[in-house]
Protein backbone atom coordinates (compact mmCIF):
# COMPACT_ATOMS: atom_id res chain seq x y z
CA UNK A 1 0.00 0.00 0.00
CA UNK A 2 1.33 3.35 -0.97
CA UNK A 3 1.06 6.09 1.55
CA UNK A 4 0.90 9.47 0.10
CA UNK A 5 2.23 11.62 2.85
CA UNK A 6 2.58 14.80 0.93
CA UNK A 7 0.33 16.28 -1.63
CA UNK A 8 1.99 19.04 -3.54
CA UNK A 9 0.31 22.34 -3.25
CA UNK A 10 1.07 25.89 -4.34
CA UNK A 11 0.55 27.07 -0.78
CA UNK A 12 2.61 24.88 1.50
CA UNK A 13 2.07 24.50 5.22
CA UNK A 14 -1.41 23.02 5.33
CA UNK A 15 -0.42 20.26 7.77
CA UNK A 16 1.42 22.63 10.05
CA UNK A 17 -1.29 25.27 10.17
CA UNK A 18 -4.07 22.71 10.62
CA UNK A 19 -2.16 21.15 13.50
CA UNK A 20 -1.69 24.52 15.09
CA UNK A 21 -5.35 25.45 14.53
CA UNK A 22 -6.59 22.31 16.28
CA UNK A 23 -4.13 22.74 19.14
CA UNK A 24 -4.85 26.43 19.56
CA UNK A 25 -8.62 26.12 19.42
CA UNK A 26 -8.49 23.23 21.88
CA UNK A 27 -6.33 25.15 24.30
CA UNK A 28 -8.12 28.47 24.09
CA UNK A 29 -11.72 27.53 23.38
CA UNK A 30 -12.52 23.85 23.69
CA UNK A 31 -10.71 23.00 26.92
CA UNK A 32 -12.29 25.67 29.13
CA UNK A 33 -15.70 24.97 27.66
CA UNK A 34 -15.34 21.24 28.24
CA UNK A 35 -14.32 21.92 31.82
CA UNK A 36 -17.40 24.09 32.15
CA UNK A 37 -19.72 21.37 30.89
CA UNK A 38 -18.05 18.72 33.05
CA UNK A 39 -18.39 20.87 36.10
CA UNK A 40 -22.08 21.38 35.53
CA UNK A 41 -22.66 17.63 35.12
CA UNK A 42 -21.18 17.06 38.56
CA UNK A 43 -24.44 18.26 40.08
CA UNK A 44 -26.66 15.63 38.51
CA UNK A 45 -29.56 16.04 36.11
CA UNK A 46 -32.43 16.79 38.59
CA UNK A 47 -30.42 19.42 40.37
CA UNK A 48 -29.28 20.92 37.08
CA UNK A 49 -32.86 21.19 35.94
CA UNK A 50 -33.89 22.72 39.24
CA UNK A 51 -31.20 25.38 38.93
CA UNK A 52 -31.91 26.40 35.37
CA UNK A 53 -35.68 26.26 35.60
CA UNK A 54 -35.68 28.66 38.54
CA UNK A 55 -37.80 31.70 37.54
CA UNK A 56 -34.98 34.10 38.33
CA UNK A 57 -32.57 32.24 36.06
CA UNK A 58 -35.16 31.96 33.33
CA UNK A 59 -35.98 35.67 33.57
CA UNK A 60 -32.33 36.70 33.42
CA UNK A 61 -31.59 34.52 30.41
CA UNK A 62 -34.63 35.80 28.59
CA UNK A 63 -33.70 39.38 29.41
CA UNK A 64 -30.14 38.85 28.20
CA UNK A 65 -31.23 37.41 24.87
CA UNK A 66 -33.93 40.00 24.28
CA UNK A 67 -31.75 42.98 25.07
CA UNK A 68 -28.81 41.62 23.11
CA UNK A 69 -31.03 41.02 20.09
CA UNK A 70 -32.57 44.50 20.35
CA UNK A 71 -29.17 46.14 20.70
CA UNK A 72 -27.80 44.17 17.73
CA UNK A 73 -30.83 45.21 15.68
CA UNK A 74 -30.33 48.88 16.59
CA UNK A 75 -26.66 48.53 15.64
CA UNK A 76 -27.52 46.84 12.38
CA UNK A 77 -29.49 49.95 11.38
CA UNK A 78 -27.28 52.62 12.97
CA UNK A 79 -24.00 50.88 12.15
CA UNK A 80 -25.12 50.46 8.56
CA UNK A 81 -25.71 54.19 8.19
CA UNK A 82 -22.35 55.00 9.80
CA UNK A 83 -20.49 52.54 7.56
CA UNK A 84 -22.35 53.82 4.48
CA UNK A 85 -21.44 57.41 5.29
CA UNK A 86 -17.80 56.60 6.02
CA UNK A 87 -17.31 54.56 2.86
CA UNK A 88 -19.34 56.44 0.28
CA UNK A 89 -18.66 60.09 1.08
CA UNK A 90 -15.67 62.29 1.65
CA UNK A 91 -15.90 64.90 4.34
CA UNK A 92 -13.58 66.72 6.71
CA UNK A 93 -12.56 64.85 9.88
CA UNK A 94 -13.59 61.58 8.24
CA UNK A 95 -10.47 59.85 9.60
CA UNK A 96 -11.30 60.96 13.12
CA UNK A 97 -14.87 59.70 12.90
CA UNK A 98 -13.53 56.46 11.49
CA UNK A 99 -11.16 56.05 14.42
CA UNK A 100 -13.91 56.88 16.89
CA UNK A 101 -15.83 53.79 15.80
CA UNK A 102 -13.20 51.63 17.48
CA UNK A 103 -13.37 53.37 20.84
CA UNK A 104 -15.93 50.97 22.36
CA UNK A 105 -13.38 48.21 21.61
CA UNK A 106 -10.61 49.98 23.45
CA UNK A 107 -12.40 51.38 26.48
CA UNK A 108 -12.47 49.22 29.61
CA UNK A 109 -16.10 48.14 29.91
CA UNK A 110 -16.39 49.44 33.48
CA UNK A 111 -15.38 52.89 32.25
CA UNK A 112 -18.00 52.88 29.52
CA UNK A 113 -20.59 51.62 31.99
CA UNK A 114 -19.88 54.40 34.44
CA UNK A 115 -19.84 57.11 31.78
CA UNK A 116 -23.07 55.88 30.19
CA UNK A 117 -24.73 55.80 33.61
CA UNK A 118 -23.55 59.33 34.36
CA UNK A 119 -24.90 60.68 31.09
CA UNK A 120 -28.25 58.92 31.19
CA UNK A 121 -28.93 59.20 34.95
CA UNK A 122 -31.71 61.63 35.85
CA UNK A 123 -29.08 64.24 36.75
CA UNK A 124 -26.91 63.57 33.68
CA UNK A 125 -26.60 65.53 30.42
CA UNK A 126 -29.10 63.52 28.49
CA UNK A 127 -30.96 62.00 31.44
CA UNK A 128 -32.16 65.35 32.78
CA UNK A 129 -33.84 66.21 29.49
CA UNK A 130 -35.46 62.82 29.23
CA UNK A 131 -36.61 63.10 32.84
CA UNK A 132 -38.79 66.07 31.85
CA UNK A 133 -40.88 63.73 29.75
CA UNK A 134 -40.77 61.09 32.46
CA UNK A 135 -38.50 58.87 30.41
CA UNK A 136 -36.10 56.89 32.54
CA UNK A 137 -33.52 54.83 30.71
CA UNK A 138 -31.07 54.03 33.47
CA UNK A 139 -31.87 51.12 35.77
CA UNK A 140 -34.30 49.66 33.26
CA UNK A 141 -33.92 47.23 30.40
CA UNK A 142 -33.35 50.24 28.14
CA UNK A 143 -30.18 50.95 30.10
CA UNK A 144 -28.97 47.45 29.29
CA UNK A 145 -29.80 47.99 25.62
CA UNK A 146 -27.89 51.29 25.59
CA UNK A 147 -24.79 49.65 27.01
CA UNK A 148 -25.00 46.72 24.62
CA UNK A 149 -25.51 49.04 21.67
CA UNK A 150 -22.45 51.03 22.68
CA UNK A 151 -20.13 48.05 22.82
CA UNK A 152 -21.57 46.32 19.74
CA UNK A 153 -21.30 49.21 17.26
CA UNK A 154 -17.74 48.55 15.98
CA UNK A 155 -18.64 44.98 14.99
CA UNK A 156 -21.33 46.06 12.56
CA UNK A 157 -19.39 49.00 11.12
CA UNK A 158 -16.15 47.08 10.67
CA UNK A 159 -17.75 44.10 8.96
CA UNK A 160 -19.84 46.29 6.66
CA UNK A 161 -17.09 48.65 5.52
CA UNK A 162 -15.21 46.18 3.29
CA UNK A 163 -18.47 44.98 1.75
CA UNK A 164 -19.51 48.53 0.92
CA UNK A 165 -16.07 49.32 -0.47
CA UNK A 166 -16.38 46.31 -2.77
CA UNK A 167 -19.56 47.59 -4.38
CA UNK A 168 -18.97 48.27 -8.04
CA UNK A 169 -19.89 51.73 -9.16
CA UNK A 170 -20.69 50.40 -12.61
CA UNK A 171 -23.46 48.21 -11.20
CA UNK A 172 -25.25 51.25 -9.88
CA UNK A 173 -24.66 53.12 -13.13
CA UNK A 174 -26.04 50.17 -15.07
CA UNK A 175 -29.14 50.16 -12.88
CA UNK A 176 -29.63 53.89 -13.46
CA UNK A 177 -29.29 53.45 -17.23
CA UNK A 178 -31.96 50.75 -17.06
CA UNK A 179 -34.37 53.21 -15.51
CA UNK A 180 -34.10 52.27 -11.84
CA UNK A 181 -34.50 55.10 -9.36
CA UNK A 182 -32.22 55.47 -6.35
CA UNK A 183 -34.42 53.50 -4.01
CA UNK A 184 -34.77 50.64 -6.52
CA UNK A 185 -31.02 50.63 -7.10
CA UNK A 186 -30.45 50.35 -3.38
CA UNK A 187 -33.15 47.76 -2.80
CA UNK A 188 -32.43 45.45 -5.73
CA UNK A 189 -28.76 46.01 -6.55
CA UNK A 190 -26.89 47.13 -3.43
CA UNK A 191 -28.88 45.54 -0.61
CA UNK A 192 -28.67 41.90 -1.74
CA UNK A 193 -24.89 42.11 -2.03
CA UNK A 194 -24.31 43.49 1.47
CA UNK A 195 -26.78 41.33 3.42
CA UNK A 196 -24.15 38.66 4.23
CA UNK A 197 -21.82 41.21 5.78
CA UNK A 198 -24.67 42.83 7.66
CA UNK A 199 -25.72 39.46 9.06
CA UNK A 200 -22.18 38.73 10.19
CA UNK A 201 -21.98 42.11 11.89
CA UNK A 202 -25.34 41.53 13.53
CA UNK A 203 -24.26 38.10 14.81
CA UNK A 204 -21.03 39.47 16.25
CA UNK A 205 -22.74 42.41 17.94
CA UNK A 206 -25.37 40.03 19.29
CA UNK A 207 -22.75 37.64 20.69
CA UNK A 208 -20.84 40.49 22.21
CA UNK A 209 -24.02 41.73 23.89
CA UNK A 210 -24.77 38.31 25.34
CA UNK A 211 -21.39 38.13 27.02
CA UNK A 212 -21.18 41.74 28.17
CA UNK A 213 -20.93 42.25 31.89
CA UNK A 214 -18.76 45.19 32.93
CA UNK A 215 -20.64 48.08 31.41
CA UNK A 216 -24.12 46.71 32.08
CA UNK A 217 -23.90 46.17 35.82
CA UNK A 218 -23.52 49.91 36.35
CA UNK A 219 -26.42 51.00 34.22
CA UNK A 220 -28.96 48.20 34.71
CA UNK A 221 -29.68 48.48 38.40
CA UNK A 222 -29.47 44.69 38.72
CA UNK A 223 -32.96 44.12 40.03
CA UNK A 224 -33.73 40.37 40.18
CA UNK A 225 -36.45 39.32 37.72
CA UNK A 226 -36.34 42.75 36.08
CA UNK A 227 -32.91 44.00 35.09
CA UNK A 228 -30.63 41.21 36.13
CA UNK A 229 -28.62 39.80 33.23
CA UNK A 230 -27.42 36.21 33.07
CA UNK A 231 -23.73 36.94 33.50
CA UNK A 232 -24.49 38.89 36.67
CA UNK A 233 -26.48 35.95 38.01
CA UNK A 234 -23.46 33.73 37.35
CA UNK A 235 -21.25 36.07 39.37
CA UNK A 236 -23.84 36.10 42.16
CA UNK A 237 -23.87 32.30 42.27
CA UNK A 238 -20.08 32.27 42.36
CA UNK A 239 -20.04 34.69 45.25
CA UNK A 240 -22.34 32.30 47.08
CA UNK A 241 -19.80 29.52 46.37
CA UNK A 242 -22.36 27.75 44.17
CA UNK A 243 -19.88 26.83 41.46
CA UNK A 244 -22.07 24.09 39.96
CA UNK A 245 -25.08 26.42 39.82
CA UNK A 246 -23.01 29.10 38.08
CA UNK A 247 -21.75 26.66 35.47
CA UNK A 248 -25.28 25.36 34.88
CA UNK A 249 -26.44 28.81 33.85
CA UNK A 250 -23.27 29.23 31.81
CA UNK A 251 -23.98 26.02 29.91
CA UNK A 252 -27.50 27.17 29.07
CA UNK A 253 -26.12 30.48 27.88
CA UNK A 254 -23.40 28.74 25.91
CA UNK A 255 -25.64 26.26 24.14
CA UNK A 256 -28.32 28.77 23.24
CA UNK A 257 -25.85 31.36 21.93
CA UNK A 258 -24.16 28.65 19.91
CA UNK A 259 -27.48 27.66 18.35
CA UNK A 260 -28.38 31.28 17.56
CA UNK A 261 -24.97 32.03 16.08
CA UNK A 262 -25.07 28.84 14.06
CA UNK A 263 -28.45 29.82 12.62
CA UNK A 264 -27.22 33.30 11.71
CA UNK A 265 -24.09 31.84 10.18
CA UNK A 266 -26.10 29.40 8.09
CA UNK A 267 -28.29 32.25 6.93
CA UNK A 268 -25.21 34.31 6.16
CA UNK A 269 -23.60 31.44 4.27
CA UNK A 270 -26.77 30.85 2.28
CA UNK A 271 -27.12 34.51 1.33
CA UNK A 272 -23.48 34.89 0.35
CA UNK A 273 -23.76 31.82 -1.88
CA UNK A 274 -26.63 33.57 -3.57
CA UNK A 275 -24.64 36.75 -3.95
CA UNK A 276 -21.76 34.87 -5.51
CA UNK A 277 -24.30 33.56 -7.93
CA UNK A 278 -23.97 29.85 -7.24
CA UNK A 279 -27.43 28.43 -7.60
Amino acid sequence: MVWRLKKHSVLPGFGLTLGFTVFYLSLIVLLPLTALCLKSTSMGWPQFWETVSHPRVWASCRLTFETAATAALINAVGGFIVAWCLVRYDFPLKRIFDAMVDLPFALPTAVSGISLTTIYASSGWIGQWLARWDIKLVYSRWGIIIAMTFIGLPFVVRTLQPALEDLEKENEEAAACLGANRWQTFRFVIWPTIIPALLTGFAMAFARGLGEYGSIVFISGNMPMKTEIASLLIITKLEQHDLAGATAIAVILLVSSFVVLLCINLLQWWSSERVRGVA
Binding site: A175, L178, G179, F188
Partner: protein, 361 residues
Protein backbone atom coordinates in the same frame (compact mmCIF):
# COMPACT_ATOMS: atom_id res chain seq x y z
CA UNK B 1 -32.77 58.56 -33.26
CA UNK B 2 -30.03 61.06 -34.11
CA UNK B 3 -27.64 62.41 -31.49
CA UNK B 4 -26.06 65.82 -31.58
CA UNK B 5 -23.32 66.99 -29.26
CA UNK B 6 -22.58 70.71 -29.25
CA UNK B 7 -19.51 72.41 -27.80
CA UNK B 8 -19.05 70.02 -24.90
CA UNK B 9 -16.13 70.46 -22.52
CA UNK B 10 -15.39 68.46 -19.43
CA UNK B 11 -12.72 68.76 -16.79
CA UNK B 12 -11.99 66.70 -13.73
CA UNK B 13 -10.15 68.99 -11.36
CA UNK B 14 -7.10 70.16 -13.30
CA UNK B 15 -7.43 67.52 -15.96
CA UNK B 16 -9.30 68.43 -19.13
CA UNK B 17 -10.97 65.37 -20.59
CA UNK B 18 -12.85 67.11 -23.41
CA UNK B 19 -12.19 70.44 -25.12
CA UNK B 20 -15.10 71.95 -26.99
CA UNK B 21 -16.22 68.81 -28.77
CA UNK B 22 -19.07 68.81 -31.29
CA UNK B 23 -20.39 65.74 -33.03
CA UNK B 24 -23.37 64.41 -34.95
CA UNK B 25 -24.53 60.83 -34.96
CA UNK B 26 -27.02 60.06 -37.71
CA UNK B 27 -30.17 58.07 -37.15
CA UNK B 28 -29.54 54.33 -37.27
CA UNK B 29 -25.80 54.72 -37.62
CA UNK B 30 -23.06 52.78 -35.83
CA UNK B 31 -20.40 55.31 -34.91
CA UNK B 32 -17.05 54.44 -33.36
CA UNK B 33 -15.14 56.78 -31.06
CA UNK B 34 -11.54 55.78 -31.56
CA UNK B 35 -8.49 57.03 -29.75
CA UNK B 36 -5.69 56.19 -27.36
CA UNK B 37 -6.45 55.95 -23.64
CA UNK B 38 -6.94 59.36 -22.08
CA UNK B 39 -8.16 60.90 -25.34
CA UNK B 40 -11.60 61.61 -23.85
CA UNK B 41 -13.66 59.09 -25.81
CA UNK B 42 -15.15 57.35 -22.77
CA UNK B 43 -15.92 60.68 -21.14
CA UNK B 44 -17.78 61.76 -24.27
CA UNK B 45 -19.80 58.54 -24.24
CA UNK B 46 -20.62 58.93 -20.56
CA UNK B 47 -21.74 62.52 -21.14
CA UNK B 48 -24.07 61.38 -23.92
CA UNK B 49 -25.53 58.77 -21.57
CA UNK B 50 -25.93 61.24 -18.71
CA UNK B 51 -23.59 59.37 -16.36
CA UNK B 52 -21.29 62.38 -16.52
CA UNK B 53 -22.29 66.03 -16.55
CA UNK B 54 -20.46 68.39 -18.94
CA UNK B 55 -18.95 71.66 -17.76
CA UNK B 56 -21.68 74.30 -17.56
CA UNK B 57 -21.57 76.41 -20.71
CA UNK B 58 -24.50 78.23 -22.36
CA UNK B 59 -23.49 77.15 -25.86
CA UNK B 60 -23.08 73.47 -25.04
CA UNK B 61 -25.94 71.07 -25.54
CA UNK B 62 -26.80 67.44 -26.18
CA UNK B 63 -29.74 66.69 -28.43
CA UNK B 64 -31.54 63.43 -29.05
CA UNK B 65 -33.63 63.72 -32.20
CA UNK B 66 -33.41 67.51 -31.97
CA UNK B 67 -34.52 67.65 -28.34
CA UNK B 68 -32.18 68.80 -25.63
CA UNK B 69 -31.54 66.10 -23.04
CA UNK B 70 -28.83 67.88 -21.07
CA UNK B 71 -31.09 68.31 -18.06
CA UNK B 72 -32.54 64.82 -18.25
CA UNK B 73 -31.14 62.39 -15.66
CA UNK B 74 -29.69 59.08 -16.82
CA UNK B 75 -32.73 56.99 -16.06
CA UNK B 76 -34.97 59.17 -18.20
CA UNK B 77 -32.63 59.36 -21.19
CA UNK B 78 -33.58 55.93 -22.49
CA UNK B 79 -30.06 54.93 -23.38
CA UNK B 80 -28.72 51.41 -23.36
CA UNK B 81 -25.23 51.34 -21.90
CA UNK B 82 -22.83 48.41 -22.16
CA UNK B 83 -19.83 48.51 -19.85
CA UNK B 84 -16.37 47.13 -20.50
CA UNK B 85 -16.54 44.84 -17.45
CA UNK B 86 -20.17 43.84 -18.10
CA UNK B 87 -21.50 45.23 -14.76
CA UNK B 88 -23.96 42.36 -14.53
CA UNK B 89 -25.82 41.91 -11.26
CA UNK B 90 -24.09 38.83 -9.94
CA UNK B 91 -26.83 37.90 -7.47
CA UNK B 92 -29.39 37.66 -10.27
CA UNK B 93 -29.83 34.94 -12.85
CA UNK B 94 -29.26 35.76 -16.50
CA UNK B 95 -33.02 36.07 -17.07
CA UNK B 96 -33.43 38.37 -14.06
CA UNK B 97 -30.54 40.50 -15.29
CA UNK B 98 -32.12 40.92 -18.71
CA UNK B 99 -35.56 41.63 -17.28
CA UNK B 100 -34.27 44.08 -14.66
CA UNK B 101 -35.05 47.27 -16.57
CA UNK B 102 -38.60 46.14 -17.30
CA UNK B 103 -39.24 45.16 -13.68
CA UNK B 104 -38.06 48.58 -12.49
CA UNK B 105 -40.65 50.46 -14.52
CA UNK B 106 -43.43 52.27 -12.71
CA UNK B 107 -46.52 50.11 -12.35
CA UNK B 108 -48.45 51.95 -15.06
CA UNK B 109 -45.95 51.09 -17.81
CA UNK B 110 -44.57 47.85 -16.38
CA UNK B 111 -45.27 44.82 -18.55
CA UNK B 112 -46.87 41.79 -16.88
CA UNK B 113 -44.71 38.96 -15.59
CA UNK B 114 -45.52 36.76 -18.57
CA UNK B 115 -44.78 39.58 -21.00
CA UNK B 116 -41.41 40.12 -19.33
CA UNK B 117 -40.71 36.40 -19.57
CA UNK B 118 -41.54 36.45 -23.29
CA UNK B 119 -39.35 39.47 -23.93
CA UNK B 120 -36.45 37.90 -22.00
CA UNK B 121 -36.91 34.67 -23.99
CA UNK B 122 -36.72 36.57 -27.28
CA UNK B 123 -33.60 38.42 -26.19
CA UNK B 124 -31.94 35.18 -25.06
CA UNK B 125 -32.60 33.86 -28.53
CA UNK B 126 -31.19 37.02 -30.08
CA UNK B 127 -27.93 36.68 -28.13
CA UNK B 128 -27.84 32.94 -28.86
CA UNK B 129 -28.04 31.95 -25.20
CA UNK B 130 -31.34 30.10 -25.14
CA UNK B 131 -31.50 27.82 -22.12
CA UNK B 132 -29.03 29.93 -20.15
CA UNK B 133 -31.73 31.99 -18.41
CA UNK B 134 -31.38 30.23 -15.06
CA UNK B 135 -27.62 30.47 -14.92
CA UNK B 136 -25.74 33.07 -12.95
CA UNK B 137 -23.22 35.47 -14.49
CA UNK B 138 -20.35 33.69 -12.73
CA UNK B 139 -21.18 30.55 -14.69
CA UNK B 140 -20.74 32.26 -18.07
CA UNK B 141 -17.67 33.02 -20.16
CA UNK B 142 -16.63 36.61 -20.79
CA UNK B 143 -18.16 36.71 -24.26
CA UNK B 144 -21.44 35.27 -22.99
CA UNK B 145 -21.53 37.79 -20.14
CA UNK B 146 -21.08 40.67 -22.54
CA UNK B 147 -23.91 39.37 -24.71
CA UNK B 148 -26.13 39.19 -21.62
CA UNK B 149 -25.15 42.77 -20.78
CA UNK B 150 -26.13 43.78 -24.30
CA UNK B 151 -29.47 41.99 -24.04
CA UNK B 152 -30.11 43.66 -20.70
CA UNK B 153 -29.49 47.06 -22.29
CA UNK B 154 -31.72 46.25 -25.26
CA UNK B 155 -34.57 44.91 -23.11
CA UNK B 156 -35.81 48.39 -22.20
CA UNK B 157 -35.94 49.33 -25.90
CA UNK B 158 -33.52 52.24 -25.64
CA UNK B 159 -33.43 55.04 -28.17
CA UNK B 160 -29.65 54.83 -28.50
CA UNK B 161 -27.11 52.17 -27.64
CA UNK B 162 -23.80 53.20 -26.09
CA UNK B 163 -20.98 50.70 -25.81
CA UNK B 164 -17.87 51.43 -23.75
CA UNK B 165 -15.01 49.22 -24.92
CA UNK B 166 -17.43 46.29 -24.96
CA UNK B 167 -14.87 43.76 -26.15
CA UNK B 168 -11.89 45.19 -24.30
CA UNK B 169 -11.79 42.49 -21.63
CA UNK B 170 -12.10 39.57 -24.05
CA UNK B 171 -9.44 37.54 -25.81
CA UNK B 172 -8.69 38.10 -29.48
CA UNK B 173 -10.65 35.18 -30.92
CA UNK B 174 -13.87 35.86 -28.97
CA UNK B 175 -13.48 39.52 -29.74
CA UNK B 176 -13.37 38.95 -33.46
CA UNK B 177 -16.48 36.77 -33.34
CA UNK B 178 -18.43 39.18 -31.18
CA UNK B 179 -17.46 42.10 -33.38
CA UNK B 180 -18.89 40.46 -36.48
CA UNK B 181 -21.97 39.45 -34.51
CA UNK B 182 -22.49 43.00 -33.24
CA UNK B 183 -22.32 44.38 -36.77
CA UNK B 184 -24.89 41.82 -37.97
CA UNK B 185 -27.11 42.65 -35.00
CA UNK B 186 -26.89 46.34 -35.82
CA UNK B 187 -27.90 45.68 -39.40
CA UNK B 188 -30.97 43.88 -38.08
CA UNK B 189 -32.19 46.35 -35.48
CA UNK B 190 -30.77 49.64 -36.82
CA UNK B 191 -30.43 51.20 -33.41
CA UNK B 192 -28.34 54.38 -33.33
CA UNK B 193 -25.17 53.20 -31.61
CA UNK B 194 -21.95 54.72 -30.37
CA UNK B 195 -19.03 52.40 -29.72
CA UNK B 196 -15.91 53.41 -27.83
CA UNK B 197 -12.74 51.54 -28.66
CA UNK B 198 -8.98 51.96 -28.68
CA UNK B 199 -8.63 49.18 -31.23
CA UNK B 200 -8.39 50.75 -34.69
CA UNK B 201 -9.06 47.46 -36.44
CA UNK B 202 -12.29 47.05 -34.47
CA UNK B 203 -13.43 50.57 -35.26
CA UNK B 204 -12.63 50.34 -38.97
CA UNK B 205 -14.31 46.97 -39.31
CA UNK B 206 -17.53 47.57 -37.37
CA UNK B 207 -18.43 51.22 -37.69
CA UNK B 208 -20.27 53.19 -40.37
CA UNK B 209 -18.24 56.23 -39.42
CA UNK B 210 -15.20 56.65 -37.22
CA UNK B 211 -14.39 59.59 -34.96
CA UNK B 212 -10.68 59.70 -34.21
CA UNK B 213 -9.96 61.44 -30.93
CA UNK B 214 -6.70 62.64 -29.46
CA UNK B 215 -5.88 64.75 -26.44
CA UNK B 216 -9.47 65.73 -25.58
CA UNK B 217 -10.27 66.75 -29.15
CA UNK B 218 -11.70 65.26 -32.30
CA UNK B 219 -9.00 64.86 -34.94
CA UNK B 220 -11.13 63.60 -37.81
CA UNK B 221 -14.58 62.23 -38.54
CA UNK B 222 -15.20 60.07 -41.55
CA UNK B 223 -16.03 56.67 -42.96
CA UNK B 224 -13.43 53.96 -42.21
CA UNK B 225 -12.29 54.28 -45.78
CA UNK B 226 -11.85 58.06 -45.53
CA UNK B 227 -9.96 58.11 -42.27
CA UNK B 228 -7.68 55.28 -43.34
CA UNK B 229 -6.85 56.44 -46.85
CA UNK B 230 -7.26 60.19 -46.43
CA UNK B 231 -6.08 61.05 -42.94
CA UNK B 232 -6.21 64.75 -42.18
CA UNK B 233 -3.52 64.85 -39.54
CA UNK B 234 -0.29 62.98 -38.81
CA UNK B 235 -1.94 61.60 -35.67
CA UNK B 236 -4.75 59.95 -37.62
CA UNK B 237 -2.25 58.64 -40.15
CA UNK B 238 -0.16 57.07 -37.42
CA UNK B 239 -2.98 55.81 -35.26
CA UNK B 240 -4.73 53.93 -38.05
CA UNK B 241 -2.24 51.33 -39.07
CA UNK B 242 1.48 51.27 -39.54
CA UNK B 243 3.43 54.16 -40.93
CA UNK B 244 6.99 54.79 -41.98
CA UNK B 245 8.24 58.31 -41.47
CA UNK B 246 11.06 59.74 -43.50
CA UNK B 247 12.86 62.99 -43.34
CA UNK B 248 13.01 64.69 -46.63
CA UNK B 249 12.27 67.68 -48.76
CA UNK B 250 9.47 68.07 -51.16
CA UNK B 251 10.25 70.08 -54.20
CA UNK B 252 7.78 70.37 -57.05
CA UNK B 253 5.90 67.26 -55.94
CA UNK B 254 9.07 65.20 -55.82
CA UNK B 255 10.41 63.62 -52.67
CA UNK B 256 13.98 64.10 -51.76
CA UNK B 257 14.85 61.92 -48.82
CA UNK B 258 17.40 62.81 -46.18
CA UNK B 259 17.25 59.71 -44.05
CA UNK B 260 14.58 57.34 -42.83
CA UNK B 261 13.64 56.42 -39.32
CA UNK B 262 10.86 54.41 -37.79
CA UNK B 263 7.37 55.09 -36.65
CA UNK B 264 8.22 54.22 -33.08
CA UNK B 265 10.84 56.91 -32.79
CA UNK B 266 8.81 59.55 -34.48
CA UNK B 267 7.50 62.56 -32.65
CA UNK B 268 4.32 63.64 -34.35
CA UNK B 269 4.30 66.44 -36.80
CA UNK B 270 7.31 68.41 -37.66
CA UNK B 271 6.52 71.37 -39.86
CA UNK B 272 10.02 72.65 -40.41
CA UNK B 273 12.07 72.00 -43.44
CA UNK B 274 13.10 69.18 -43.89
CA UNK B 275 9.65 67.74 -43.56
CA UNK B 276 8.30 64.48 -42.23
CA UNK B 277 7.03 62.30 -45.03
CA UNK B 278 4.58 59.56 -44.13
CA UNK B 279 4.19 56.36 -46.07
CA UNK B 280 2.26 53.25 -45.15
CA UNK B 281 4.12 49.95 -45.62
CA UNK B 282 2.12 49.12 -48.73
CA UNK B 283 3.03 52.46 -50.29
CA UNK B 284 6.66 51.40 -50.48
CA UNK B 285 8.37 49.07 -52.89
CA UNK B 286 11.64 47.19 -52.69
CA UNK B 287 14.13 46.97 -55.53
CA UNK B 288 17.29 44.90 -55.62
CA UNK B 289 19.01 47.36 -57.97
CA UNK B 290 18.21 51.03 -58.08
CA UNK B 291 16.98 51.62 -61.63
CA UNK B 292 15.89 55.23 -61.47
CA UNK B 293 14.82 57.87 -58.99
CA UNK B 294 15.15 58.03 -55.27
CA UNK B 295 15.71 55.06 -53.00
CA UNK B 296 17.07 54.21 -49.59
CA UNK B 297 19.82 51.70 -49.31
CA UNK B 298 18.90 49.13 -46.67
CA UNK B 299 19.46 45.56 -45.53
CA UNK B 300 16.64 43.06 -45.09
CA UNK B 301 16.37 42.19 -41.40
CA UNK B 302 13.21 40.18 -40.76
CA UNK B 303 10.51 38.57 -42.85
CA UNK B 304 6.94 37.78 -41.81
CA UNK B 305 5.32 35.55 -44.34
CA UNK B 306 2.41 34.17 -42.31
CA UNK B 307 -0.43 36.03 -43.97
CA UNK B 308 -1.84 37.18 -47.29
CA UNK B 309 1.04 39.62 -47.79
CA UNK B 310 4.77 39.57 -47.13
CA UNK B 311 5.91 41.95 -44.41
CA UNK B 312 9.54 42.90 -44.78
CA UNK B 313 11.49 44.83 -42.19
CA UNK B 314 14.63 46.51 -43.39
CA UNK B 315 17.34 48.40 -41.65
CA UNK B 316 18.65 51.52 -43.33
CA UNK B 317 22.27 52.58 -43.20
CA UNK B 318 21.60 55.02 -40.36
CA UNK B 319 20.04 52.24 -38.24
CA UNK B 320 16.41 53.24 -38.80
CA UNK B 321 13.89 50.48 -39.51
CA UNK B 322 11.48 50.53 -42.42
CA UNK B 323 8.49 48.24 -42.81
CA UNK B 324 7.35 47.32 -46.31
CA UNK B 325 4.33 45.25 -47.32
CA UNK B 326 4.64 43.40 -50.60
CA UNK B 327 2.35 41.05 -52.41
CA UNK B 328 3.63 37.49 -52.13
CA UNK B 329 4.24 37.41 -55.92
CA UNK B 330 6.41 40.47 -55.76
CA UNK B 331 8.20 39.10 -52.73
CA UNK B 332 9.13 35.82 -54.43
CA UNK B 333 10.08 37.69 -57.59
CA UNK B 334 12.61 39.70 -55.54
CA UNK B 335 13.86 36.55 -53.76
CA UNK B 336 14.61 38.43 -50.56
CA UNK B 337 16.47 36.82 -47.69
CA UNK B 338 17.50 38.27 -44.33
CA UNK B 339 20.81 40.07 -44.76
CA UNK B 340 20.33 40.86 -48.43
CA UNK B 341 20.97 44.44 -49.56
CA UNK B 342 18.11 46.24 -51.31
CA UNK B 343 16.57 49.65 -51.93
CA UNK B 344 13.34 50.99 -50.50
CA UNK B 345 11.50 53.05 -53.07
CA UNK B 346 8.45 55.10 -52.12
CA UNK B 347 5.51 54.78 -54.50
CA UNK B 348 3.52 57.43 -52.67
CA UNK B 349 3.60 59.30 -49.38
CA UNK B 350 2.02 62.11 -47.46
CA UNK B 351 3.15 65.42 -46.10
CA UNK B 352 1.03 67.32 -43.59
CA UNK B 353 1.09 71.06 -43.48
CA UNK B 354 -1.14 72.27 -40.75
CA UNK B 355 -4.34 70.40 -41.30
CA UNK B 356 -4.01 70.07 -45.06
CA UNK B 357 -2.12 67.36 -46.79
CA UNK B 358 -0.25 66.83 -49.99
CA UNK B 359 -0.30 63.55 -51.74
CA UNK B 360 2.79 62.70 -53.61
CA UNK B 361 2.96 59.99 -56.13
Amino acid sequence: MSIEVRNISKSFGNFTALRDVSLQVHDGELLALLGPSGSGKTTLLRIISGLEVPNPNPSSDILFHGQSVVDRPVRHREVGFVFQHYALFRHMSVADNIGFGLRMRPRATRPSKSEIRDRVGKLLKLIQLEGFGDRFPSQLSGGQRQRVALARALAVEPKVLLLDEPFGALDAKVRQGLRTWLRRLHDEIHLTSVLVTHDQEEALEVADRVVVMNQSRIEQIGTPDEVFHHPKTPFVMEFLGQVNVFHGRVTKGKIELDDPFTTEQHEPHNNSNPQAIYARPHELDIQRELTNGEGIAAKVRRLHLAGPIARVILEAENGGHVQVHLSLERFYELALQPGVAAYVVPKSGRVFEGASKTILG
